[in-house]
Symmetry: C2
Subunit: 365 residues, 2 copies
Amino acid sequence: MFSILDWKPKIGILGGGQLGWMMILEGRKFPFTFYVLENDKNAPACRIADRCFSPQEYKEFVDSSDVITFEFEHVYEEALKYAQESGKLLPRLNSVELKRERYKEKLFYKQHNLPTPRFFVAEDGEEALKILREEFNNIGVIKESKGGYDGKGQYFIFNDVEKYQFLREKKEKMVVEEYVNFDFEASVIIARDKKGNFVSYPPTYNYNEKGILVYNYGPYFNQEIINVAKRLSEELDYVGTMGVEVFVTNGQVLINEFAPRVHNTGHYTLDGALISQFEQHLRAITNMELGQTTILSPSGMVNILGTDKIPVEVLKYGKVYWYSKSEVRKRRKLGHINVIGNNLEEVKQKIDKIMQLIYPNGLDL
Amino acid sequence: MFSILDWKPKIGILGGGQLGWMMILEGRKFPFTFYVLENDKNAPACRIADRCFSPQEYKEFVDSSDVITFEFEHVYEEALKYAQESGKLLPRLNSVELKRERYKEKLFYKQHNLPTPRFFVAEDGEEALKILREEFNNIGVIKESKGGYDGKGQYFIFNDVEKYQFLREKKEKMVVEEYVNFDFEASVIIARDKKGNFVSYPPTYNYNEKGILVYNYGPYFNQEIINVAKRLSEELDYVGTMGVEVFVTNGQVLINEFAPRVHNTGHYTLDGALISQFEQHLRAITNMELGQTTILSPSGMVNILGTDKIPVEVLKYGKVYWYSKSEVRKRRKLGHINVIGNNLEEVKQKIDKIMQLIYPNGLDL
């Protein structure tokens, strides 16, 4: 490929949420066509795609596309499989498979010597509670193996085991983990191309509540996080943008989980970096050059969760991305606000100011 | 307006070129609907608008919109007039009227004591040549009064008057100007809202060839340029983003011309600033807060003119915006490439590198 215009790929995105929406907005700068596979025609990415296919049309969707990627890994099993068989899927199915069952992801870390909180795999809820008692003295985290994201299916238990007896009914695999009393949570956004070239944005400090990211900011320079993410991406022979979430405790880095896609903690790159995580992903999966990941300025992001009351005053402090979802629901990610500042303190002050403006009565998650 | 979501305006844009395209891409982050008035349904902004109206449908276009703005001021006279009468046009018609006839723009500068190169208004080409001889000793610039942009209708004369005798046939008003042997050209992007709030990005150094912008970069800190632009915007009671191009000669600032819209020399703000000139324009015309104009990093832009051979290597140095116009034509603006750097030298080096990559045989304008 000599010119970036020699190839005008049709890119199929599985899922019509905000991650796909931003991928398309960023990708409009290239001569790409965007197809989306999504049930809800009013979903953010569907509204701006060149064509929105319904899930039943997945074969036509895959056949019409040159490359298939996804913005959400927990649905569309048939479509993902069909795309993988067609050789068009990037990132490849091996990454998704680790996310389909949390225990596989954890075992992968163990197998490849990637640092992660101590854990055991239980065959069902009964065994999980037993392991919690015997190995962790009833203080730990039980996670359902299937389909967890945004804190769903995770139980933080602090001796109050009686509250969790309902888990005994669950006849499915679970992961039982030590409770990590972390200093803070962090994450890194990396990208890797087919030739194995690797780039990384600086990590960020993240603040989650009830399993949902509320805000994050950076740069937080920590080479160990980048090294761990690099090794993970290499072990997977990964292609695309990936987010890796970690706990930092006493200087030690432990992988909490990874996302085989663009990630909420990378939204700041839309403004804090020349090339965003979305463009980086598109460059990687279309086999172009990866781009600069240097941060132009300390920056951060606040998620807009479950509210559409966004005082005009926030525009003084940041840049609003409103996803125009069809309805407001509790805990729902409806938009985000990017901020920049001369230093981390200024960024954090703006985040605090925005938090007060959009959640005057506190967060309700 | 308490929440930015209390009003979901339908914004009508006159013109379907790249400026409208970027306005829509940036505006998708707000709950706006975008209509475009444009003859060519494949024009960049039409392809991503919610609806593209043909010029004959201008009444329906204006009636359907809450606010009307424009990305190009040299066409759609009837539509602009109708929009102004409806009270929906921003910026208002007074700015456009100055651009319809260059002599009015120049007289406006003189009348308001805004610095501009010395000039005379001629009634026709015959008189223009006479003034050039008598006032400027046959060294100067003759500009047709109507419809000039990108260097069209401008004649730089250096004693070679015989080449320009065809101007005698022109029975229309002309502007005859002194030739300014400037040190360099510069411009500033400003925005102003209905309440008179004013913001300005730092000016940039511009390099034009044959009347077309080739590249620009900044920041170039020059308060005088900002002051002049501020006064101009106040005299016009301007609302929206405006570009003001100046000559800088021995430290003196002379206005060359202004554009009552987003401007090619402000494309770097898409990446060099948190809030771009496009978002700033939308904020101003929808009566929201103006945003930050601080520059995150020294930055610049290279126009892609008349070529679609864009080596993949440029992706190492910058961020490509390809407008996907229907055909490649000489001198046509087909895209641009934004760059950032740690300092002006680094930005300029990247610009030079990109120039070599996309114009290996030099510019052909």
